[in-house]
């Protein structure tokens, strides 16, 4: 799928390929763009290139060829949370701010603000091992938001959570996206999740984006059961094609 770069695009891939040293192909001439302020979800089968695309946006991987346009200031919430076990929730959320040279007290205040926004009031002093899986994931998202990124990347952040916690976090993440107007890019295995959360779904298969779907539903998407099911069925059909 080739896409002309729009002035409103904050991320654009033009014929991007990624071939690892072992010869494994992760991306093959992938082209797509992501609009500023959108909530984009990348779905697709395992090995389709979703995570590699996200890593390239995050700056964790370099493309082998092609052009990537992306802002410098991106941050990411990881599948495992990737929290430092020796730091409290507040310490974890403040760490990237301190890495940017912010003073300890100020970083702690900023971290507390985001932790509270993610419903973690009273848990600021807890260590990751004292938190539930959902709470840990919230700390990871708070840490990612604390640095005020231009783009927030979410790498399957709900994959290991129970359905109730996932539902709660879905609501929170959509709420934060709407409140902050940040660009969110999420990788997910679940088409339902992608349709429930995002404004645009990119289907990655065979190391490239095969199709893009605009989800034109008012939030919460699931409330519009018929239209929601239609969108899911539409993407599912392309997924298995």
């Amino acid at each position: 799928m080739r896409k002309h770069i729009d002035s409103n695009d904050i991320i654009a891939f033009e014929a991007v390929s990624k071939i690892y040293g072992t010869g494994d192909v992760a991306l093959e001439s992938a082209s797509f763009s992501i609009a500023r302020g959108s909530f984009t979800c990348i779905v697709g089968p395992s090995g389709g290139g979703k995570s590699t695309a996200l890593k390239i946006i995050a700056g964790l991987e370099e493309p082998s060829s092609g052009t990537v346009m992306k802002p410098d200031h991106v941050s990411m919430a990881f599948q495992s949370g990737a929290l430092m076990p020796w730091l409290t929730a507040q310490g974890n959320a403040a760490l990237p701010l301190e890495a940017r040279g912010m003073e300890g007290d100020k970083a702690a205040r900023e971290a507390r603000k985001w932790l509270r926004m993610l419903g973690l009031r009273g848990l600021e002093g807890k260590l990751p091992r004292e938190l539930s899986g959902g709470e840990r994931q919230r700390v990871g998202i708070a840490r990612a938001l604390a640095v005020n990124p231009a783009v927030l990347l979410l790498d399957e952040p709900f994959a290991a959570l129970d359905p109730k916690t996932t539902d709660e976090l879905h609501k929170d993440i959509v709420g934060i996206w709407r409140e902050t107007g940040k660009t969110v890019v999420m990788v997910s295995h679940s088409i339902e999740e992608a349709v429930a959360l995002s404004t645009r779904v990119l289907l990655m298969k065979g190391h490239a984006v095969r199709k893009a779907f605009d989800i034109d539903l008012p939030h919460p998407h699931r409330a519009h059961a018929l239209a929601f099911s239609r969108e899911v069925a539409h993407i599912r059909k392309e997924f298995f094609k």
Binding site: K55, A58, G59, L60, V74, S75, M76, F78, Q79, S80, A82, M84, P85, W86, L95, P96, E98, A99, R100, L127, P128, R129, E130, R143, V147
Partner: protein
């Protein structure tokens, strides 16, 4: 609160350990008296407790100096060896070969070098350092390998680099490995104190006057001077010090380091 929780969690194991210790020490004491009885009886007076204590402190300081040096060298060596597949391929076999060379093979050369500069203590510290180093290096290499990949990814995404990364991410992440490696390193160190302090056997025509004062040389020279009682007092002091260090330092550090362990 966390420390309390951890203490509670490890409580039964620690108590079992504590209950076992008197039996172990009793066993050691029987062993010591058994060995001491093999030495010919001599009217040589037993060394005063202050002499044994001074020897223990001197050896401890020597071991601590070697340990600090070993940690200072081991951390960059472990980081270097884990910086990518190529570095691993180069450094791991080199480290493996170096740690396989018996430390004492270096000793005559080391003594010659250090004595030339009138620094006998340097020879002992160097040998102790070499014995401690590889335990810490290999433990740290394993520790770095056990850090989840996403932690390094998070550090890169959040721009944690250089000194900040080392201080705030890497060193805490490898603390459990450092503690475990240090525990083994100290055990190695105690094992070679006698050899490290009894220098006269390596100096042509040397006498026990050429030895370094410490619990190792006291242990080696007491039987030779016919003082079985001093030998027993020295070994009891040594066992006591090791037991105190184990409970007061290592057990606590091991529990503390649990907070730093990735699930």
């Amino acid at each position: 609160m966390v420390a309390h929780a951890m203490h509670r969690h490890h409580g039964p194991a620690l108590r079992a350990h504590a209950a076992f210790t008197p039996f172990f020490l009793l066993l050691v004491a029987f062993g010591i008296f058994g060995i001491a009885s093999m030495f010919p009886f001599s009217p040589a007076p037993v060394a005063p407790p202050s002499y044994i204590a001074a020897a223990l402190v001197t050896t401890f300081v020597r071991l601590m100096a070697a340990y600090v040096l070993a940690v200072i060298c081991a951390i960059p060596l472990a980081i270097l060896a884990t910086r990518g597949a190529l570095m691993e391929k180069i450094f791991l076999p080199v480290f493996d070969i170096l740690q396989s060379v018996p430390t004492l093979a270096f000793f005559p050369l080391v003594i010659a070098l250090f004595l030339q500069h009138g620094f006998a203590n340097g020879a002992a510290v160097f040998i102790l350092f070499l014995n401690m180093l590889w335990n810490i290096v290999f433990s740290l290499i394993a520790g770095i390998g056990a850090v989840p990949h996403e932690i390094f990814s998070a550090a890169r995404v959040f721009n944690m680099r250089g000194g900040f990364f080392v201080r705030r991410v890497l060193l805490p992440a490898i603390l459990p490995a450092l503690v475990t490696g240090s525990l083994f390193a100290w055990a190695e160190g105690w094992n070679v104190v006698i050899v490290a302090e009894v220098l006269h056997t390596y100096i042509p025509g040397g006498t026990s006057a050429s030895d370094l004062f410490g619990i190792g040389s006291v242990l080696a020279n007491a039987p030779a001077s016919g003082s079985g009682a001093t030998f027993v007092a020295a070994i009891l002091g040594l066992v006591g010090l090791i037991a105190v260090l184990n409970f007061a330092v290592w057990q606590r550090l091991l529990h503390y380091a649990e907070t730093y362990r990735f699930e």
